[in-house]
Amino acid sequence: MAKAATPIAALRRPAVSGRETMATGVRIAVLPPAERISLRAPAGSIGALSQALGLDLPTKPKTSSAKGGRSALWLGPDEWLVIDQTAGDPLADCASVKALHSAAGVSHRNVAFSVSGPAAEATISAGCPQDLSLAAFPVGACSRTILGKIEIVVLRIGEDSFRVECWRSFSDYAWTFLAEAARDAGV
């Protein structure tokens, strides 16, 4: 049978990996791979799942919670995107939960970008019709929405800092859009 001669990490070839660009007031970088699940559950399961995941699943629209490198983003009334940037395995954590839920691994489905700097908001606003001001979209706010011609998930991680996720095959478009928008964001 097979012999695992190569460490698994060496086989991984993430999309748009390592890209980074700077423009006036904004830096855009492709973030390293992370573990992700798409978590679906009725209200009655939120407690058990929160416990298993080690963070409170947010129940208010457009909010997220974060703890120790793991974030849970409210995407819909029964839907969360759980992102783990450490070595954790949220899929495994949920596997033991008996309460009703669906956890599907989407680690490779999404690609994440960091958009940071004073012109970060303006960069995303080149293609995102939502009001991303601090008042309407404070730190911790998150939403599935639109960037140009694709769907993204945007999470505000700081006053001047966003995480933008999109599906893998749209990552080249997202990168190109953000990089072009960045050139025009520092006004």
């Binding site: 629209p61 457009k62 995407l75 819909g76 009334p77 019709p129 599935r144 929405t145 639109i146 769907e151």
Partner: protein, 124 residues
């Protein structure tokens, strides 16, 4: 671009995040296999297409991804209310609500687009 209030996100969101999904409150029979041709025609083919308030389905497809219902005027494009899927059709007398000026494109050709009798800058 319209703003549409998503009853799940509990705020208005830009139209780009939404997709229209046809008329609301069309009931799919629990005994669909045995309904008559006439009933199937009504269920599948016949839509009300009113001039005025229409009850329709929308999906916040690029947001929370939920389907929901809306009452919208086909004359002015104005959304009167949105509510969650599965909630009953609200009993509202929309005729009591002033729909405001119609889009000029929709006015009768003979109707001048000048407010009759209105005083400039002094509308209430």
């Amino acid at each position: 671009m319209l703003l549409i209030r998503c009853p799940y996100c509990e705020e208005e969101r830009p139209e780009l995040e939404f997709r229209h999904a046809g008329e609301a409150h069309v009931v799919r029979s629990g005994e669909l296999a045995s309904i008559s041709d006439e009933d199937f025609e009504k269920f599948f083919f016949i839509r009300s297409n009113p001039k005025g308030v229409v009850f329709e389905r929308w999906r916040h497809i690029h947001g929370c991804a939920r389907f929901f219902n809306a009452a919208r005027s086909t004359i002015t494009d104005r959304f009167y209310l949105t509510y969650k899927a599965g909630e009953p059709k609200p009993e509202v007398d929309f005729s009591a609500i002033d729909t405001g000026p119609a889009a000029w494109a929709n006015r009768e050709p003979a109707e001048p687009n000048v407010a009759a009798g209105a005083e400039p800058g002094k509308s209430d």
